[in-house]
């Protein structure tokens, strides 16, 4: 294909190189230059993390002990719900404490 006289036959290059080989190089390696079109590098890093997650089967990831997205409210609806529940409970508790401090005011509010 290319300069066979100088180089050994390419091994797995081009179509043979798997997608992971190519992505890990063109996304994670190479020279980083901020072009005029700013893609936040963090975006790319997040993207590769996301890619790794999306394509990994969830069970496998859990098996390997990777489950942080379950508790990250930005990624998990359950975590979001849990967080709301927790926040709710915390607020109720605070409210109860306040009501204890000021019983008169709380009664007024509850019975208009």
């Amino acid at each position: 294909m290319t300069t066979p006289s100088r180089m050994p036959e390419p091994y797995g290059q081009g179509s043979g190189a798997n997608l992971a080989d190519i992505l890990e190089r063109v996304l994670d390696k190479g020279i980083v230059i901020a072009g005029d079109i700013r893609i936040n590098l963090l975006d790319i890093e997040l993207l590769t993390i996301k890619l790794r997650l999306i394509v990994a089967s969830v069970d496998k990831a859990k098996e390997m002990g990777i489950d942080w997205w379950e508790t990250d409210p930005a990624l998990s609806s359950r975590a979001r719900r849990d967080e709301l529940t927790r926040e709710n409970a915390e607020l109720r508790e605070r409210l109860a404490r306040l009501e204890e401090l000021e019983p008169g005011r709380a009664e007024k509010k509850e019975a208009p």
Binding site: Q13, A17, N18, R25, G30, D36, I37
Partner: protein, 251 residues
């Protein structure tokens, strides 16, 4: 010329023209933009896909990303056969040629230093996979007669797994040492995701080696000799790549 400029790589001027049928990331053939004695390899890309917002959106789309990454790599690959390119990360985009020229001026010293360091070198990728438990599938699992039996079987399975990982790890460490000693430089990459690589078995080593072109044949032989050395392990060689893994910070 309208549209944005996508930059693939920076290199020294090369005599050989790029393959005529080579298409870039958006179908426009890449061309050389020479400035201050350096060449940026650029092609035109439409704003509707490569302006900030659409580009960000596209990057989340694995199909688009796959196609673009392959096209990017195709150009780098073609350059690698005629010169030593410094590959830029996917998605390096400028408004126009003058933006590209300003970038070259700003990074000129860096580029020259890195080009000198990598001149005539290529990258080889070596991966080791542990095939999934060959011995176990060979002998059909006996149905445990009792709870104690079951536990014993589980213990034996766990032990044979552990032995296999230990062997795979020891082999990979030895291989990496041997290859690193031959290569000018090396990098360890995280194990690959099987869903992306479509490879079977567990990826226990994923490394890149910087090797002079002139010594590539020897390097390939070195890797080939280790193939089949250890049952249950598979060794994969890819390359020659442009020195992606070594183009960043100098070591």
């Amino acid at each position: 010329m309208t549209g944005l400029r996508y930059v693939y790589a920076v290199c020294r001027p090369f005599g050989t023209p790029l393959q005529a049928q080579l298409t870039g990331v958006a179908g426009d053939p890449p061309r050389a933009l020479t400035h201050h004695g350096l060449v940026a390899v650029v092609s035109r890309v439409p704003e509707r896909d490569f302006a900030e917002e659409p580009l960000r959106r596209h990057l989340e789309d694995l199909d688009w990303l796959t196609e673009t990454a392959r096209a990017h790599q195709g150009v780098i690959d073609a350059l690698t056969t005629v010169t030593t390119p410094l590959p830029l990360r996917l998605g390096t985009v400028f408004h126009d040629d003058s933006g590209v020229r300003m970038m070259i001026e700003a990074r000129e010293e860096d580029f020259r230093r890195t080009l000198d360091r990598l001149e005539g070198r290529v990258e080889w990728g070596v991966k080791v996979y542990a095939e999934s438990e060959p011995q176990e599938s060979a002998q059909p699992a006996q149905k445990p007669a009792s709870g104690r039996d079951y536990l014993r079987q589980r213990r034996m399975q766990t032990r044979s797994h552990e032995e296999m990982w230990q062997k795979a790890e020891a082999f990979s460490t030895r291989l990496h040492e041997e290859l690193s000693a031959f290569a000018e430089d090396s990098r360890m990459h995280p194990p690959q995701n099987p869903a992306l690589s479509k490879a079977t078995g567990r990826n226990v080593l994923n490394a890149a080696y910087l090797v002079p072109r002139a010594h590539s044949e020897e390097f390939v032989e070195l890797v080939d000799r280790t193939k089949g050395e250890m049952p249950g392990l598979r060794i994969e060689l890819t390359g020659p790549w442009a020195a992606y893994s070594f183009a960043g910070e100098a070591t």
